[in-house]
């Protein structure tokens, strides 16, 4: 699954560590999600959507 996490993060001038802290996950998790190596669970996807105040489908795009 593709995602726009890196772009959304860059727009806010957040580092991976900043985003990780806001989501209460490790920086490894943010990196793995951003690079498409790990698809987050539904609860984490909702947390990400809530943080960016966007619908999930505007952040995560199915292949």
């Amino acid at each position: 699954m593709k995602n726009r996490l890196k772009v959304l993060r860059a727009e806010r001038d957040w580092s991976q560590q900043d985003l990780a802290r806001r989501l209460e996950v490790s920086r490894q998790s943010v990196n793995a999600i951003e690079t498409g190596r790990y698809d987050p669970s539904l609860p984490l996807a909702f947390r990400i959507a809530a943080l960016f105040e966007m619908p999930i489908e505007d952040i995560f795009i199915p292949d």
Partner: protein, 183 residues
């Protein structure tokens, strides 16, 4: 630390030191793990990879590891000096085994307590990889042993082989993460 273990094993096998001295030196060499583990935790903290569950797991596993070294040393010493058998031998076998159970429990608790789903996912994959290594090597070795190609090995090797498999898997995934362009 590995070099220390090798030197102690060499001294012990050459007869330069006796059994209790070897045991005490081994226990002291184990203390080198403390700064190593602390450095590892500090690095994880700096890079934002340290979760509370990892900290708890490390403390539990370290405690169990020291228990294992003490238990194994005592069990081997008692067995060689007293030639125990039957219920007594069963009892001394528990000395190193109970800490091994504690290590397995610590790993299980880590999977339960880790809130970070990606870290939990990685730890689960690494455990399964370690299990695959044990099953593959165990089956292969078992048949080689059946047909007289290799000597018999003790079943307690399963745990270290599993742990090595898990460590290799974790190392490979960490390398892949770095190669994947972590900022």
């Amino acid at each position: 630390m590995v070099a220390s273990f090798a030197v102690i094993a060499g001294l012990r096998s050459s007869g330069a030191i006796n059994e209790p001295t070897g045991f005490i030196l081994l226990a002291l060499a184990m203390l080198q793990m403390i700064p190593l583990v602390r450095a590892g935790l500090a690095h994880q903290r700096e890079t934002g990879h340290l979760s509370p569950a990892v900290l708890r797991y490390t403390r539990r596993f370290m405690g169990a590891t020291f228990g294992y070294v003490l238990g194994m040393g005592l069990a081997v010493m008692l067995h060689e000096r007293m030639g125990l058998s039957g219920p007594e031998a069963f009892a001394i076998a528990l000395l190193p085994v109970l800490p091994v159970f504690a290590m397995i429990w610590a790993m299980g608790r880590y999977l339960v307590e880790e809130d970070d789903e990606f870290l939990r996912h990685r730890a689960t994959l690494a455990s399964l990889f370690g299990l695959g290594v044990v099953l593959a090597l165990g089956s292969f070795w078992g048949f080689l042993e059946t047909f007289g190609v290799v000597p018999h090995i003790w079943a307690w090797w399963t745990f270290p082989v599993w742990a090595i498999g898990m460590g290799v898997s974790q190392g490979w995934m960490a390398w892949r993460d770095r190669a994947g362009g972590e900022e």
